[in-house]
Symmetry: C2
Subunit: 406 residues, 2 copies
């Protein structure tokens, strides 16, 4: 018996199930593999013995539906493993569970924490001289903050959702002939890639945001107010994109730093989101019509407007990860390498996961303009290919069809 | 000279520009009409003399692009006219402005306030025996709350956005194996039609919301908590849809009624949204992982997921309104009449606007279940046809193309 295991972890994206399909297609077509299992709820499913048997329970048509289904079809978890040196029992248990199902190949699809799991597991296996179990990572994160991959599957679809929505909101906010400010808070605690994607809204002729604030830059209240006043006098209806992770010079989140903690309905103090704080500042200091909008979970779940490029690449990354796992190339993460060609082109490769886990790639300086209020032309060129192409989704009764595994 | 005027008013929708196209197509192809103008910024554009000359400035290709452009291409306003008896000067001025441009036909596209404008203008014209100027209304509102039309253009697209998004969020919220509550606040201060549309998320196999709370029903804190507890023990991940206009028995909004006014970042008291209040109640009383999401302006601006049925009907309603205006049938609103046929079919007609203006159609009792926490099967049957069909939008660089008139 030679079995294969796949699991998904971390926050869902619109592309993570496409990576799952890539993994399954590669593994299920390999005649050296007997059964392909999914662990339900990430690594916890493996530990708790909850499996989905793909070899028995999936039909060809399901693959197509899975690629258009948001969130993690196998469920997810947020368990961070201990250090193998500190808690070898945890790892012995995992190996026992893998042995019990005759699993020799394990692909873990996820973000930074999941790559940490792949790294620790691989390290433990090596330390025990176990060479017939291979663990490989497949990246996914809308935040695009993993290093050693040109970009992350999931990011392109979130970026396309954000660019499309910003373009639509910009039209909506410009219909009234009164001064107004609309603030859109975009996900990203430590990396402003998604916030940068708001600028892609200009690619079909739209004006895009008037101002963009990145978590890579320090927030300055007075400069912000001056920026907004300049924009209002210039174009009347001002649209602002802001990273949720925006901080002041002392590293505090806006709500905390500005002494503006919000009191919730029950009198509990809690930190207001960055968009809400900016809304309050504009309302109080400028006084024009102001609204803040949080794009919230829709950023990672709006698979109906997924990027065809992203969905395709996500699948290829999954195939590559399964390929590495089957060939015994453990301790790596499958990655995307952009080729140095005039037109956008990539290849799929792999990179040692020990050099990836627990690092964060933020938006580099050269992609943010000198005023810190917009992206550079280079950023647009870099990101534009990732949102290209529309998926041809199957609809039923006016709704995109999702595949539910269990 | 015999000219035609069109204008848009009130909150934007994904379908209002399709109605504009219907009006333009009908008016511009009529050989009795010389010029077709648009007033920029609703009735204010007429009063201030700001016009867009469609006869000179629009190409065939623009019509197609307009139907996929969200928000009001001609701009909007929120001016409510005085009573003609109280302020005849305001009406004299408007007639003077119409005469100055040789306008004999005026179609006003909008919601309840705009129908009030159509009504007052028509009444004034009649009182002055002016019979060579005809004013006609064309309905639009995502709220679906106008009476004497089966439904309103704009509603179907907003409903499709809501149903699609709820289906996606339901997938997203079910990936973790921990008890959680996700509350989605949906637009609608006085009518729960859009909130009802959340149930349409079940039409492609999804589970839909666990609980739906309508502004047509009184909010009871203890019953709500019991509902949520029952659902959590039943399906663990609970998704709740709630109308923004939800009120308690004394008619107060939740935040006010429950003594839960929120303090903003600057210490100003303000009413929290219904979703936010429910989030606070669940967090405090039940304590599970809880999040509230506001679908905000995306409900009316997400033209990329517009309903093809809605976009088609919106255009036909525009054609009908222009037809009435050209034929001298003033003081009416073009409307949609559902035919009593086994399959969904409608005809386009018109109805005296004096009987429509300033009435609100809320969700009738038979569309809400007896527990007040879901819709009935009849509601699903009634609303399902309105979200059917996907538009074939033109994309450029991965984004839907919008048409900007000026």
């Amino acid at each position: 018996m030679r079995n294969f295991l796949v699991a998904q972890s971390g926050g869902p994206t619109s592309a993570i199930n496409s990576t799952l399909v890539g993994v399954l297609k590669r593994a299920m077509s390999d005649n050296k593999i007997d059964n392909v299992y999914g662990a339900i709820g990430g690594i916890c499913g493996l530990i708790n013995g909850e499996f989905f048997d793909f070899s028995k329970n999936i039909k060809e048509n399901d693959f197509m539906l899975l690629t258009q289904t948001p969130a993690a079809a196998l469920g997810s978890c947020r368990l961070k493993l201990d250090e193998p040196e500190d808690n070898p029992e945890q790892f012995e248990d995992i190996v026992k569970k893998l042995r019990a199902k005759d699993i020799n190949h394990f692909v873990y699809i996820g973000g930074n924490d999941s790559m940490d799991t792949v790294n620790k597991l691989s390290r433990y296996l090596k330390s025990q001289n176990i060479d017939d179990i291979t663990v490989v990572g497949a990246p996914k994160t809308i935040d695009n903050d993993l290093i050693h991959t040109d970009h992350c599957p999931g990011f392109g679809s979130a970026a396309k959702y954000i660019a499309t929505t910003i373009a639509e909101l910009e039209r909506d906010c410009s219909v009234y002939d009164v001064e107004s400010t609309t603030i859109v808070e975009i996900m990203g605690r430590d990396a402003g890639w998604l916030t940068a994607a708001s600028a892609l809204s200009r690619l079909a002729g739209g004006r895009g945001p008037s101002l963009i604030y990145f978590c890579e830059r320090v927030f300055d209240r007075e400069k912000f107010l001056q920026d907004v006043r300049n924009q209002i006098s210039n174009r009347r209806n001002v649209l602002i994109a802001v990273s949720e992770g925006m901080r002041t010079a002392d590293g505090k989140c806006l709500s905390e730093a500005l002494g503006l903690s919000e009191t919730d309905a029950f009198g509990h103090k809690q930190n207001a989101g960055a968009g809400r704080v900016l809304e309050d500042i504009v309302k109080t200091e400028i006084g024009c019509k102001t609204r803040s909008i949080e794009l919230n979970l829709m950023q990672r779940a709006s698979s109906h407007i997924a990027s065809a490029t992203d969905i395709y690449e996500a699948r290829k990354v999954g195939e590559k990860a399964a390929d590495c796992a089957i060939k015994g190339e453990g301790g790596v993460m499958a990655n995307i390498v952009r080729l140095d060609t005039p037109d956008y082109a990539v290849k799929y490769s792999s990179f040692p996961v020990c050099e990836i886990a627990n690092h964060v790639r933020s938006l580099p300086d050269h992609l943010i303009n000198s005023a810190g209020t917009d992206v550079t032309e280079e950023a647009i060129k870099l990101l534009a290919p990732l949102i290209k192409g529309e998926i041809e989704a199957k609809y039923e009764n006016g709704l995109p069809v999702h595949k539910r595994l269990f």
